[in-house]
């Protein structure tokens, strides 16, 4: 293998690390809410990935969140980790995290170093895979739409 092959292989090992695969296999906050204040379904027509995100809100604060759907490890891990960050936080606060996450996926290294992203930083390698960025952003686009539609 050439040095560039070694790098590509190391990139992938870093991306498909245990943390991501753990969220893929045991997604957190998976399911549905009985009394959702906002429900948004998003599909990626290119690959057939689909996510339904539900929020229970207290004013503009997220009280509970669940997601359902199916997709690749990147889309599922992104959704699962995202839901862990939402409870008890305001729409404005969440908007900041969403913007930082989007910047990280689009290749901004400052964003990738931002501690506010927590475990989500494990997805920073997606920035080097342009064809997979939509996978990582699918849940976030549902989230933004849910908050906007409710607000």
């Amino acid at each position: 293998m050439s040095p560039s092959d070694d790098r590509r292989s190391a990139d992938l090992t870093a991306l498909y690390q245990d943390l991501i695969l753990d969220h893929y296999r045991r997604p957190r906050n998976r399911g549905s809410l009985e009394h959702a204040d906002a429900t948004v379904t998003k599909k990626n027509p290119l690959c057939g990935d689909v996510i339904t995100l539900q929020l229970e809100l207290d004013g503009d604060t997220v009280r509970d969140v669940k997601f359902a759907g199916e997709g690749c490890a990147i889309s599922q891990a992104s959704a699962s980790m995202m839901t862990q960050l939402l409870k008890g936080r305001s729409a404005q606060d969440i908007g900041h995290v969403a913007a930082t996450f989007t910047r990280m996926i689009e290749g901004d290294s400052t964003a990738a170093a931002d501690a506010s992203l927590g475990e989500l930083r494990a997805l920073s390698g997606v920035a080097r895979l342009p064809q997979r960025q939509q996978c990582a952003l699918l849940a976030w686009s549902a989230l933004t739409q849910a908050l906007v539609s409710h607000g």
């Binding site: 092959d5 590509r8 292989s9 990139d11 992938l12 090992t13 498909y16 695969l21 893929y24 296999r25 290119l46 690959c47 057939g48 990935d49 689909v50 199916e70 997709g71 690749c72 490890a73 990147i74 895979l129 064809q131 997979r132 996978c135």
Partner: protein
Amino acid sequence: MTSLAPRTDFPLLAGDPDLVYLDSAATSQKPLAVLDAMREFQSRDYANPHRGAYDLSVRATRRYHDARLCVARFFGMADPDALIFTRGTTESLNLVATAWGRSNLQTDDEIVVTSAEHHANFVPWQQVALATGARFRIAEPGTDGLVNVDALRALVTRRTKVVAFHHVSNVLGDTLPVRDIADLAHAVGAIAVCDGAQAAPHLPVRFDELGVDFYAASGHKMCGPMGIGVLLGRRPLLEAMPPYMMGGDMIEFVYDDTSSWNTLPHKFEAGTPNVTGAVGLAAAADYLDALGMPAVRAHERSLARTAHERLAAIDGVTVHGPGPADRSGVVSFTVDGIHPHDLATILDARHVCIRAGHHCAQPLMRRLGVAATARASFYIYNDDADVDALVAGVHAARELFGHVTV
């Protein structure tokens, strides 16, 4: 098994020795002969054809005409004027669904398609049904997921006006009995429309012997350039149909309140034609003819058979579609616990290009009960080492994902 066509014939493959290109069902790589033919036309004979006041335009017109004769010969067509150059299979099928469909279909007529059609042979018929009040009927697959000709036969009745189907499936790689289905349609007075996008590059297609009324194919999947394809039709039907697009070249006389149409094939080729594309497609047809389409077929089937058998032997791998002996060069598969997109990314890091997704056949994917599959497809420049790379990549993906089933 070595490749049928030398890799050195294909500048992109020659320039990237590590590349394992297994997405020819999406588009094929181009031999130098095709690139040279297009360049040579543009460098020597390029002008707007059919405007013939000067010699250069006459030469361009002749090159376009010669390309049509060559491609018609490749497709076993005695009447080259019934070969319409289009942008590709999608435009060809839209042309038939719109121009023939809107002037021939009415309420209570029925259109029959299979559930395994590519969106290009599904949506145009669904929409023309909505526009005309015709019924859109879908032949369900058998328990093996493949087209069930008996189920198709059961739907074809006196009300049927169109039977639209594929020659080779882009998802499962099975080949339909085109002649039998055409006979089925004709027995009730319906027309038979065949999507040949996945057949024309891979097996001998003799239009005059297939019995269908319309046959569509794309140049870019058969070593030609993107943006050129064909609609092969039967002359009486084409002559009776209204034009699809209006403009230059397709008219005879234009009056203030009416117009009359040019003869075939020009009636269906409005505007300046893609002469460079047609020249490239003709060069591609010559290239494939020199290899011999029966040899192309045999080569791909052999590679696909090996890939099928070796993939199916891996724990957790499901290969979709017909048995190893009955498939064309397409192998669709899924790996337990690894989404096809993740698999494609891992293979990509190893320079192996495969397709992952719904393959523009969402109705079929729903019936197969999968959101997406991985698809490897083989062509004349692939060899056994490419199969090795695919199989090794799937093993590597399973290792990365820890062999654990979700």
